[in-house]
């Protein structure tokens, strides 16, 4: 009996000890967070605005979690873990976290609400996690492969509506997620959203640029008359919004270039002094009008600094031929040297002999230089180009025949970057000759030496001083 009582006493003591130790043991980090912070799901919109962002030092160490456990975890903490998993390039962790979040669309809505009210603005990690999560949700819900029963259209509209109240820079990040969301080759932000985007653009004129940017793929895939009408209205009312002008004009030029090209050129002329608007118009013409019409139009509009547009047209199917045809017409008629120079800048698909031929025959030194620059840009050059470079430079004193040293140095710089072996060695010698030639101007000598310096052994120019300036 005594033995039995002793055993019962021991069991009671052991249970009491276990209870005491268990009470003293700290909770796991996730549970501590849940106790310290109010669950965000329970907060109203006003509460969300007031909720201070959690400091970054509160971060719990990332740990792998099953989706069911993730669903119970505090949302801000989960969003930070999404960003941390991305930063660690941990695809397994990222997949687990996003799977858990996306399985409950209400959590994605909650993340959007936090982002919309600026509740995550001070918390970079949670903010990045929210943008990643929403981007994944838009794509996943809108994909035909997805087995989730979510109204993808309604969710995307909700994100579009919230966008106006999201603070930059996360606003632009979220807009990019919307623009880039794709199901295979199909962009999810399709024409079914056009009306909504234009409505929101009108409702939030201060955010017009952000909403205009969302139209990029809509304008590329315009097929119905109603959509075209919407873009026509946008073009006529967008005025000074370069993105809206670019996208709406692109849509209109794709549909009916002959009708809209004249208006585009008039608008370009009226936008003198407004670089961004002029670039937008020229970009629309280069990317959307039929190549023949685009080449003719850009030739008329050609202005210094339109390299991007001419390069874009040159990359389109048939674009290079159209540019070459207009160059030939202009050179035969003695037309604008600026237009010829830009036309030649778009001929990057032409062979070296063709471009070296232009460098040998065009009457303008700027066009001759451009032909050599175009040929040596982004691809290796052959001896024919170097022969022409040296012969044009040798006649530099005669602008009708040669090219100036400053221009020759630029061409030589391209050859250094893009060529190897004998051509690179030859151009090194060419630049070294200029750098050491006292008959050249100090600026040209310095430019040659500084172009060459990264390609020479360390210390080569240590003691070089040209015109009172150190080459280094």
């Amino acid at each position: 009996m005594r033995w039995f009582l002793a055993c019962v006493a021991c069991v009671i003591v052991a249970l009491a000890f276990e209870w005491w130790v268990g009470a003293a043991r700290p909770e796991p980090p996730a549970l501590v967070l849940a106790q310290d912070e109010q669950p965000t799901q329970a907060l109203s919109g006003a509460d969300l605005e007031l909720q201070p962002a959690a400091p970054r030092e509160d971060l719990a160490p990332p740990a792998t979690a099953a989706p069911t456990a993730a669903a119970e975890e505090d949302l801000v903490s989960l969003l930070r873990r999404v960003a941390l998993a991305y930063a660690a390039q941990d695809s397994a962790e990222l997949t687990a976290l996003l799977t858990g979040l996306l399985a409950t669309p209400a959590r994605c809505e909650e993340a959007l609400a936090l982002l919309e009210k600026g509740g995550l603005h001070e918390d970079e990690l949670a903010c990045a996690g929210a943008v990643f999560t929403l981007g994944a949700a838009i794509t996943c819900y809108g994909s035909a492969k997805s087995a989730l029963a979510v109204d993808a259209h309604a969710f995307t509209v909700r994100v579009l509506e919230a966008l106006a109240d999201v603070q930059p820079p996360e606003q632009q990040d979220l807009a990019e997620q919307l623009i880039q969301a794709r199901d295979g080759e199909r962009y999810l932000l399709d024409l079914s959203y056009l009306g909504k985007i234009l409505e929101l653009r009108g409702l939030h004129p201060e955010q017009a640029e952000v909403y205009s940017g969302l139209l990029v793929h809509l304008s590329e895939n315009l097929s119905d008359e109603r959509g075209l009408e919407e873009f026509r209205a946008l073009f006529l009312t967008a005025g000074q919004d370069p993105t809206a002008v670019k996208l709406s004009l692109s849509a209109l030029l794709r549909a009916d270039a002959t009708s809209w090209l004249a208006m585009a050129e008039t608008l370009f002329a009226d936008a003198r002094g407004n670089g961004p608007l002029r670039s937008a118009i020229a970009y629309a013409i280069a990317s959307a009008a039929p190549v023949e019409l685009a080449a003719a139009s850009l030739t008329r509009l050609a202005n210094t600094g339109m390299y991007t547009e001419f390069a874009l047209l040159g990359m389109r199917a048939g674009g290079s031929d159209a540019l070459a045809a207009h160059y030939n017409e202009l050179v035969a008629a003695g037309g604008s040297s600026i237009a010829r120079k830009l036309l030649v800048s778009g001929l990057r698909n032409e062979t070296e002999p063709v471009l070296v031929g232009i460098a040998a025959t065009d009457p303008d030194p700027g066009v001759r230089t451009q032909a050599l620059l175009t040929s040596s840009l982004g691809r290796p050059s052959g001896p024919e180009l170097l022969d022409r470079l040296e012969s044009l430079h040798a006649r530099r004193s005669d602008p009708a025949q040669g090219i100036a040293t400053a221009q020759a140095v630029l061409v030589a710089g391209n050859v250094l970057i893009n060529s190897a072996g004998a051509e690179r060695e030859r151009v090194k010698e060419f630049l070294l000759r200029i750098a050491g030639d006292a008959s050249e101007s100090d600026n040209d000598r310095l430019s040659a030496a500084r172009t060459l310096a990264p390609w020479m052994p360390p210390g080569t120019f240590d003691n070089w001083v040209i015109g009172g300036q150190s080459v280094r």
């Binding site: 994944a136 210094t304 390069a311 700027g366």
Partner: protein, 141 residues
Amino acid sequence: MHKLSVTILLACALVPSLRAQDGPSCPDVRATNVAARVDRQGSFSRCGLGVEIFGVPLTIGGSKCFRNEFVYPAHQECQGALNVGTACQPAPDMAVQLYKCECLTVGLISTGISIPKCNCSSAGSAGTIEDAQTLECHVSP
């Protein structure tokens, strides 16, 4: 005496510039600043992390990576901005640079982590743009 001669010399030096401001040949314009800009050409890829969620392949995060970037330097242009007593004159051309970009996986030192990054390198000078400068008008006496 010394002060007088200095005053006369300074007065003589000032006469041409005073005349220049009223001179009929001075266009009374100055060069206008044009900010540098980067034009990104064509479509882009995103250097992000690929994952698959509910059977849907996704790219998470990552910066936009355009194949071509044209960098136009800050320069000045003659746009007819009024400025009494000055002229807008051409200055030496400036180079427009082309950068070619692609997604590369870059290792972070001492972490064992590799992240995809948009890496751009110079392809050279794509062309030149004209620069301009403001000069005071000088009318010969």
